[in-house]
Symmetry: C2
Subunit: 338 residues, 2 copies
DNA sequence: CCTGGCACTCTGCGCTTGTGAGTGCCAGCC
DNA sequence: GGCTGGCACTCACAAGCGCAGAGTGCCAGG
C-alpha cells in the first residue's frame, strides 16, 4: 500500500505531465508543489512508484511519466470530476437549443464536445433497439411498390423501398397501416417481431404475400440498423498530440474511420455511469496510446446511446470527464423535449 | 511558347516527382525517360521551364519540383484521364450495388473513393434544391401536433415537427395531404413555393392558420436543408503526405471539419464535367497545398450533387481523375435505379 | 541547337564534443 | 525509521565540423 505522500507525488506527476507534456523530475516537483520534503525524498518515492508500475522513465536519467496503471489510479482515487462552470453550462445549453432536428442535435453535440475538450468527439445516434416506435408510415409509390418509413421516439427516421409480389390496393394499404400502428406505436423495437407475427392472417389471401414482405422489410430494418450510426468530429485536435506524429496519429485516424471499431468501443463501456478506458485497456490496438471517456445519454432515465471523446492518455481527465458528463446531460434534456 | 520537348520534360518531371516524392534532377530524367538528349540539354530546358514558372527548386542545387502552374499545364495539356480497368469497374459496381438506402450509398461511395485514390474522399448528399418531391406525408401525433415528412426522388427523407396553432382534425389532415401531394409530387423543389401559395384559401377559416404553419415549415425545410450535408472519409490517408506533418495536415483536417468550406469548394467547381483545383487555386487558405478533383453526379443526365477527393498537389492526376469519374458514373446509375 | 566538361553550391549525414537535467546511492542527522 | 544533502554517473540533445553526393550554370566546341 502506498503512503499518502506517495499518492500526492503521483498526483503531482500526472498533473505536471499533463500540463507540460514533458517528463517531470524530482526537483521540478518540489518547486511546483509544496510537498514539504526535499527532492531526494521525492526520488525515493518515485523509485517506489516505479517499482509498483505507476510511473516509468522514457530513458534512463530522464524524468518520470505516468504509466497506464498510474493514470488508472489517478482517475479512480486521486481525481474527481471537475464540474463545468455556470457560464459553460449556459453556453452548452444555448448551443444545443438551436438544433432543428436529430441530425442537427448530433452534429452540434459533436462540435461542442470537440471544442470543450479539444479532443476527438464521438456521438452515437440514438439506438433503434432501445427506442420505441412513434409511427410506421406506408406510401404507395407504384401499384406494386411501397415505401416504408419508420419514425422513432427520438426523432430518427428510416425508410426502405419494398417491392411487392403483387399489386396492393390503396384500401389494403390503409388497412395495413392502421393495424400496424395500432399494434406497434409506442412499443419497444425489440417487441415488434412478436407483435406483428400473426398480422398477415388478418388479410385476404391475395394480399398476404405483400403484407409478409412489408413486415419482413420492417424487421430487417430493425436488425440492420442495429448496426448503429455515429458521428465524429474534432479530428484536427489530433495534431496537438506529441510531435512524433505519423506513428501516433495514423492508427487513430484509421480506428475512427472504422465505425465498427468505435461502436464496439462504446458498446463495451459500462451501461451506466461514466467509463474511462486508458491506453492498453482499449481492446483495439490502434488506440493503445489513447484514452476513451464515454457515457450513456438518453431522454428518460435510460440510456439510448453513448457519446464520448478519444484523446491521448496524457489528457486532463477531470476536465474531460466533466465536459462529457455535462454534454450528455443536456443532450438528454433536448431529446426529452422534442 | 514551349517546344514539344520541353513539354515532354515537364511531363516527365511531374510523373517522376509524383512517383518518388523527391526533387528530380536532369541526370535522373535522362536515365528514366528516353528523351534522346543529354542531361545538359535537359538542364537548359529546365532553366527555361523555371523562367516560365512551371517548375521550381526547393533549394539552390537541388532537383526541380513542379509548381501549381506546372501541374495545371500538365493536367490541361499533357495528361489524359486514365480509365479504370474492367476488373476495377466490376469491383466498383459490386461494392455499390450492396447499398440498402441513401445513407448507405453515400457511405459506400466515400469508402470506395478513398480506397481507390488513397486520398480523402468527399461526397455531397443529393441536393434538395435540385431534386424533385416524391411524396409529402403528414402524420398527426397529437391533436395539435403534426409531423411533416418529405421524401425526395433520390431517396432522401427529411422530417420536421409542426406545432399547430389550433387542433387539426384527421379529415382536414387527409385533405391537406391529398391536395399538397397532387400539387407538388414530381415537381422540383424550387417550384414548390409558388405551387402551394394559394393552398390555405381552399380550407375553412379555422384551419387556415394550421395549414399556413405546415406550409411554412415545409418551405423552411427546403431552404434550411439547402445547407447541404456531406460525408468525408479516408482522412487516415493524410498521413501519407510529406513527413513535415503538423503544419501540412492540420489546416487540412480543419478545412474538412468545416463543412461550409467544403460545400463552397464543391459549389465553386464547374457544374458539368470534372474540375481540378490545384494548390493556390483553392480559395480556402488551409487547402493551398492540396488539390481537389471534383465532379457532379446525378440520377439522370443532370447533376444533383458533387463528389471528389482532396489530396496533395503532388498526386497522380490521371489516375485520380479516372477513379472519380468512374465512381460518379456508377453512383448515378445506382440512384437512377432506386 | 546540342553536347561534354568543369567549377561551384548546396543539403544531408555521420561524427565528436559539451552541457544539463535527472537519477541512484550513501552516509549522516533528527 | 524516515528525511536530507552530497556526489558520481548516465543519457539525450544541441552544436560544430567535415565529407560525400547530387545537382546546377556556364562555356567552348561540334
Amino acid at each position: 500500500m502506498l503512503s499518502e505522500r506517495r499518492l500526492q507525488v503521483l498526483r503531482a506527476i500526472v498533473q505536471d505531465y499533463v500540463g507540460t507534456e514533458e517528463p517531470v523530475g524530482s526537483k521540478a516537483l518540489t518547486e511546483r508543489h509544496s510537498l514539504g520534503v526535499s527532492p531526494a525524498t521525492i526520488r525515493n518515492d518515485m523509485a517506489a512508484l516505479e517499482d509498483e508500475g505507476y510511473i516509468a522513465q522514457p530513458h534512463t536519467s530522464a524524468g518520470r511519466i505516468p504509466t497506464d496503471k498510474g493514470y488508472r489510479l489517478f482517475v479512480d482515487k486521486l481525481a474527481g470530476v471537475k464540474p463545468m462552470s455556470p457560464p459553460e453550462r449556459r453556453a452548452i445549453q444555448n448551443f444545443l437549443d438551436g438544433a432543428v432536428d436529430l441530425d442537427d442535435v448530433v452534429a452540434r453535440t459533436v462540435r461542442l464536445l470537440a471544442q470543450l475538450t479539444r479532443q476527438v468527439a464521438v456521438v452515437q445516434y440514438p439506438s433503434l433497439t432501445r427506442s420505441t416506435v412513434r409511427h410506421v408510415e406506408l406510401l404507395s409509390l407504384a401499384p406494386a411498390r411501397v415505401m416504408l418509413v419508420l419514425i422513432t421516439d427520438t426523432g430518427r427516421v428510416e425508410q426502405r423501398m419494398v417491392d411487392c409480389p403483387a399489386p396492393f390496393g390503396e384500401a389494403s394499404l390503409a388497412d395495413l397501416r392502421a393495424r400496424l400502428n395500432s399494434r406497434v406505436a409506442g412499443r419497444r423495437f425489440t417487441d415488434v417481431p412478436t407483435l406483428v407475427e400473426d398480422l398477415p392472417e388478418a388479410f385476404d389471401i391475395e394480399d398476404r404475400g405483400t403484407v409478409s414482405t412489408v413486415l419482413s422489410t420492417l424487421l430487417e430494418t430493425l436488425v440492420e440498423e442495429n448496426e448503429e450510426r455515429l458521428m465524429i468530429g474534432g479530428t484536427a485536435n489530433l495534431t496537438r498530440f506529441g510531435h512524433d506524429f505519423p506513428l501516433t496519429i495514423r492508427p487513430v485516424l484509421e480506428a475512427l474511420e472504422e465505425q465498427v471499431v468505435l461502436l464496439k468501443l462504446l458498446g463495451e463501456a459500462g451501461d451506466s455511469g461514466m467509463t474511462v478506458r486508458i491506453g492498453h485497456e482499449n481492446a483495439y490496438e490502434g488506440l493503445n496510446s489513447t484514452s476513451v471517456v464515454s457515457v450513456g445519454y438518453g431522454s428518460g432515465g435510460e440510456a439510448v446511446a453513448k457519446l464520448g471523446v478519444v484523446g491521448p492518455t496524457r489528457m486532463d481527465y477531470p476536465g474531460t470527464m466533466g465536459a462529457v458528463r455535462a454534454v450528455a446531460r443536456y443532450v438528454g434534456q433536448i431529446l426529452a423535449e422534442s
